[in-house]
């Protein structure tokens, strides 16, 4: 489990990093929590590692009228310990509690998680659920990509080989919003076998509106479940509505099978977890 020979660079600006990416078979390294195991197994053997650690300005958490900006280098531990976020974005903080283990949360980053795009990871689920916008910089300059377009398959994104994620923007979060987050994993901190992030707003007449339900773990990539959302929008948030939405959610996923869970089980989990996430939202 030793790496193949690899060179290392730690540039001080995004532009310099982008330029380095174009020189050879190079890879960004951020927290290294996903990349290093892959390299140790020699599943990836890049020639050059471009470390983001000396680049300033990628590690900020900013709250403003546009919403919540998370720099690419923001670590899970920083989201967990930022007291503002418990009210500014409770769905995010709840989701990040489920990421990995203490040691990994001290290093793993928002940008690394989005770029790696593991289908069972939480941050992309929040991005998809909340219609986030991801800012990337490449040789062609800055691009903004909607989360709905960013994730395209297991470990696959629209990121070009010479592009770097610089930040993600989550739209503003109204205090009255109802939300729920549920995931099921074999042990605490393991990648989820299936998970659901959900929220909706409530009209003055008590009907649900603006429903957002995103799946992870039970799908090739994190995405919203529009069929389930349609079951919720315009209805009273009752147990029956939630059950209908949960059934719709299970019907519109096409889960993968692996050694930990067959597809039919994952589909059943989606139904269970959607029902529970919506019930949590309604508490």
């Amino acid at each position: 489990m030793k790496l193949s020979p690899v060179r290392y660079a730690a540039p001080t600006s995004v532009e310099e990093a982008v330029a380095l990416l174009a020189t050879c078979d190079a890879k960004i390294i951020s927290g290294g929590q996903s990349l290093m195991p892959i390299m140790a197994f020699r599943l990836a053997s890049p020639e050059l590692l471009v470390d983001l650690k000396k680049i300033k300005g990628l590690g900020d958490i900013v709250l403003d009228s546009e919403g919540l900006h998370l720099g690419a280098k923001v670590k899970w531990i920083e989201i967990e310990t930022d007291v503002r976020l418990k009210t500014a974005h409770p769905l995010l903080t709840k989701a990040i509690e489920h990421v990995a283990h203490y040691q990994i949360r001290n290093r793993g980053t928002v940008g690394g998680s989005l770029a790696h795009a593991d289908p069972a990871s939480e941050m992309p689920a929040i991005a998809a659920c909340c219609d986030a916008v991801i800012s990337v910089v490449g040789s062609g300059g800055l691009r903004k990509i909607n989360a709905a377009d960013f994730f395209v398959g297991a470990l696959q994104t629209r990121l070009e080989p010479d592009e770097i994620i610089v930040k993600i923007l989550l739209p503003p979060w109204p205090a009255t919003r109802r939300w729920g987050f549920q995931e099921f994993s074999r042990r605490r901190g393991d990648f989820a076998l299936a998970g659901i992030a959900a929220y909706f707003d409530v009209e003055p007449d008590g009907r649900a509106t603006n429903a957002h339900i995103a799946v992870f773990g039970a799908s090739d990539y994190q995405r919203r479940l529009t069929g389930a959302e349609a079951e919720l929008n315009g209805k009273k948030p009752t147990a029956d509505t939630f059950a209908a939405a949960a059934r719709a959610a299970a019907a519109e996923v096409d889960p993968p099978s692996d050694i930990h869970a067959p597809a039919d089980y994952r589909r059943a989990l989606v139904e269970t977890l959607t029902g529970r996430a919506l019930a949590d939202a309604n508490r």
């Binding site: 042990r187 605490r188 076998l193």
Partner: protein, 763 residues
């Protein structure tokens, strides 16, 4: 003269001596050791499960800068040496011994094919990518069905994939079944999993060409036996080898058995003429160290209508993997011999077939065969109770072996014949205590109830734990010139607190303070011979050897004291750390010009049987198949406790390990014999937060009559009934749906599927 209290360290919760070192980061493990001028080895392993080797191309690897040697089977002689069986060394198993490097064929993914020695491990791994292996692929045998279909056979000379059949017999099973009122019959399976100790294996070996001596660091468990195997393989005298034990993070039966690397690293050191170090990585460990369990049992139980168990009959199949390694027979034979457990089942005919398959060879893992067989038996009893409409506690209690039945002979197993008796115990008393402590009566109200969306269930069951394997163990005591005492032992430390326990026993036997005693163990230079740590034997066997050696030493001390005091030996007595004659005395320090050195052996052929009862309360989430363990209680009688603190830790740890095997741990292969669980992200171990509510109570009701300590091998066994008890609790929880799990692990997807199928049946 003040009245002195005799020492009484034995039986007290003395804190582990070892912990200060470990907690301060002062432990010294194999990867901490480096020798001057050392090189690093890595192993090239078969990427295929089954095939004939056509060609191994090593030229490009050999040419890589920094590579010193690439060793393949033909470098080891006309045929490479093989690993013999240490336990049950039957001649009919010789064809299944593993060659040190794959020879003519590969038989499992991970089998060593070549050794690369280089300046660094990273360079050696670079070289692995340059080795070319041409294999003519053969169909992979990956389980009972394909072993029996025999599209290919692993050992063509043998002609089938069935290596050997074990038979356990007692009474007349057929007669018992003929007159039974009820016969319960089913097929049960326990999945392949493994010991998974903390840090993987490793060795440093150094060959002294001038003196023709071999030094090997990294020995564990059975250093003397391994030295004999190594000496034969290297074709040198065993006394030309020194094996050294360093700290290890657990063994659980797997660490310290003889594996190919135990030979390959010393052999490589001799070939390159420099010290060679090898540290196994986790992926290698998962595919190379012994696997365990992996059985299928087609077994039936005969009962009378009032719930007496009359007999057990059936056939089990053990998937032993590609070769029979040192202790590969132990689990399969135990399945048949110990299926009756603590119950008085007079008529038994049970067989276990050992199958060879293209998977990693298997060996012992804590409670070998016993975890599996208890799963089968405890499930059968619950199924019977439900058919008979009997209470599950009542039926068990009724069938327990009574003290007046002791010594109670278990089934006799052949072909490597072994006869063994349960030694002593009040099984019903421990059962009753477990029921009371658990609150069986009150908790029974929960059985099958749906509370807050979860179904609750409980279960109870009893077990025995064999220990104290003979034939002997050695201890050497040396009274040093400064009056302190050094204890050298043949037992080895695998994390069980050996140093602490042996110091306690010595302190009491010699009436000396703790800090004057030093325990050294496990290295071949310490005592002439040693058997090591397996079968819950070190405390009983090593401890008893200390008692014998202490008597000898006291005699010698009196002799030396008498000489110094100018009187007869009979006139002196030992008083603290002095020898006294009347009002004259000499101190242990400076007692004689030479250290006083004695060695003694404790011989024992009879096993000890600790025994106990465990109970569990679980709940099942029907939406996810998740099982929560609300409470797990173990009550065990170990005869005599040397140290309640260390034993308690072992008891809890054993249960957690059993819960791991029940819920999480599974070595999964695909149909091509590729291991799917190559990291700890896929092979799931229980973590500290997974099973918080475990209690263990240890008793000293009935000492063992078979050794001077009265102690029974203990600490290993808490794992034994866990799979059966938890599965019974899950079945109890889901009784309204009629769910009866027959297979481990109880992964959430399996439990969910059972529930889903049951609902579909009901609708």
């Amino acid at each position: 003269m003040t009245l002195r209290q005799p020492n009484s360290f034995v039986g007290r919760p003395v804190e582990r001596i070892e912990d200060l070192r470990f907690l301060r980061g002062k432990g010294f493990y194999i990867s901490d050791l480096s020798r001057p001028n050392q090189l690093h080895a890595v192993i090239f392993r078969s990427p295929e499960a089954h095939g004939r080797i056509k060609r191994i191309g090593i030229e490009r690897a050999r040419a890589l800068k920094g590579v010193h040697a690439v060793i393949i089977a033909s470098d080891l002689g006309p045929t490479p040496p093989h690993i013999p069986l240490r336990l049950q060394p039957l001649p009919e198993l010789v064809p299944f011994h593993q060659p040190m490097l794959a020879f003519e064929k590969v038989r499992y993914v991970g089998e060593p094919v070549a050794v690369v020695v280089a300046d660094t491990a990273a360079i050696a791994e670079d070289a692995l990518e340059l080795i070319e292996l041409d294999i003519e692929t053969l169909p992979a045998i990956t389980g009972r069905a394909s072993a029996e279909a025999a599209q290919s056979v692993l050992f063509e000379g043998h002609g089938s994939n069935e290596a050997l059949v074990w038979t356990a017999v007692r009474g007349n099973a057929d007669a018992a079944f003929a007159k039974a009122d009820l016969i319960i019959k089913d097929t049960f399976r326990v999945q392949r999993h493994a010991a998974m100790f903390m840090e993987p294996r490793g060795f440093v070996a150094e060959w002294q060409a001038d003196t023709q001596r071999m030094q090997v660091w990294g020995a564990a468990k059975v250093a003397w036996a391994n030295r004999r195997i190594l000496a034969t393989a290297l074709q040198i005298d065993e006394h030309a080898i020194d094996m050294f034990e360093l700290d290890v993070g657990g063994g659980f039966g797997s660490r310290g058995e003889f594996y190919p690397e135990d030979y390959l690293i010393p052999a490589a050191a001799r070939i390159v003429g420099r010290p060679v170090k090898w540290i196994e990585d986790r992926r290698e460990h998962l595919m190379c160290a012994n696997h365990a369990r992996d059985i299928e049992c087609n077994v039936e139980m005969a009962l009378s209508k009032d719930g007496l168990i009359l007999g057990l009959r059936g056939m089990s199949y053990s998937d032993n993997g590609a070769y029979l390694r040192t202790n590969g027979s132990v689990g399969p034979r135990n399945i048949s011999q110990f299926m009756s457990g603590p119950y008085k089942i007079e008529n038994i005919h049970l067989q276990t077939t050992m199958l060879t398959t293209n998977k990693t060879p298997s060996g012992t893992f804590r409670g070998p065969g016993r975890f599996e067989t208890d799963f089968v038996r405890e499930r059968l009893i619950d199924l019977a109770a439900s058919q008979l409409g009997m209470d599950r506690a009542v039926i068990r209690r009724k069938n327990l072996v009574r003290d007046e039945d002791m010594p109670y002979p278990l089934a006799t197993i052949t072909p490597y014949e072994s006869v063994t008796d349960l030694d002593s115990g009040d099984y019903p008393a421990v059962f009753d205590l477990c029921m009371t402590e658990f609150g069986w009566a009150e908790k029974s109200a929960l059985a099958g109830k749906l509370i807050d969306g979860r179904y609750h269930g409980i279960a109870i069951g009893s077990f025995i734990e064999g220990g104290a394997a003979g034939p002997k163990e050695d201890a050497r005591l040396v009274l040093e010139l400064d009056g302190t005492l050094t204890v050298y032992l043949g037992s080895s430390a695998v994390g069980q607190g050996l140093q602490t326990i042996m110091t306690q026993i010595t302190a009491d036997a010699m009436e000396m303070p703790f800090d004057q005693i030093r325990v050294l163990h496990g290295s071949t230079s310490h005592v002439k011979d040693g058997f090591g740590s397996y079968h819950s034997r070190s405390t009983v066997m090593g401890g008893s050897a200390i008692l014998l050696a202490a008597e000898k030493l006291k005699d010698k001390i009196c002799e030396a004291g008498a000489a110094a005091l100018g009187c007869a030996k009979e006139q002196v007595l030992i008083d603290g750390q002095t020898v006294r004659h009347g009002d004259r005395s000499v101190s242990f320090a400076g007692l004689s010009p030479e250290p006083i050195d004695v060695e003694a052996s404790f011989f024992n052929k009879k096993y000890t049987y600790a025994y106990g009862t465990q109970a569990a309360h679980v709940s099942v989430d029907p939406g996810t198949g998740h099982v929560r363990v609300h409470e797990y209680l173990s009550v065990e009688d170990v005869g005599r406790m040397i140290n309640p603190l260390t034993l308690h830790g072992q008891a809890i740890g054993a249960i957690v390990q059993g819960l791991g095997g029940t819920f999480l741990e599974h070595l999964i292969y695909d149909e091509n014999g590729q291991l799917q669980t190559g990291s700890l992200a896929d092979y799931l171990l229980p973590t500290a937060s997974d099973f918080p509510k475990i209690r263990a109570i240890t008793l000293e009701l009935k000492p063992s009559p078979n050794n001077p300590l009265g102690a029974k091998g203990a600490g290993e066994g808490g794992i034994i009934p866990v799979g059966g008890i938890i599965t019974n609790a899950v079945a109890n929880a889901l009784s309204s749906l009629g769910v009866e799990p027959m297979e481990l692990p109880l992964s959430p997807s399996r439990v969910w599927k059972l529930i889903d199928d049951a609902r579909k049946r009901i609708v």
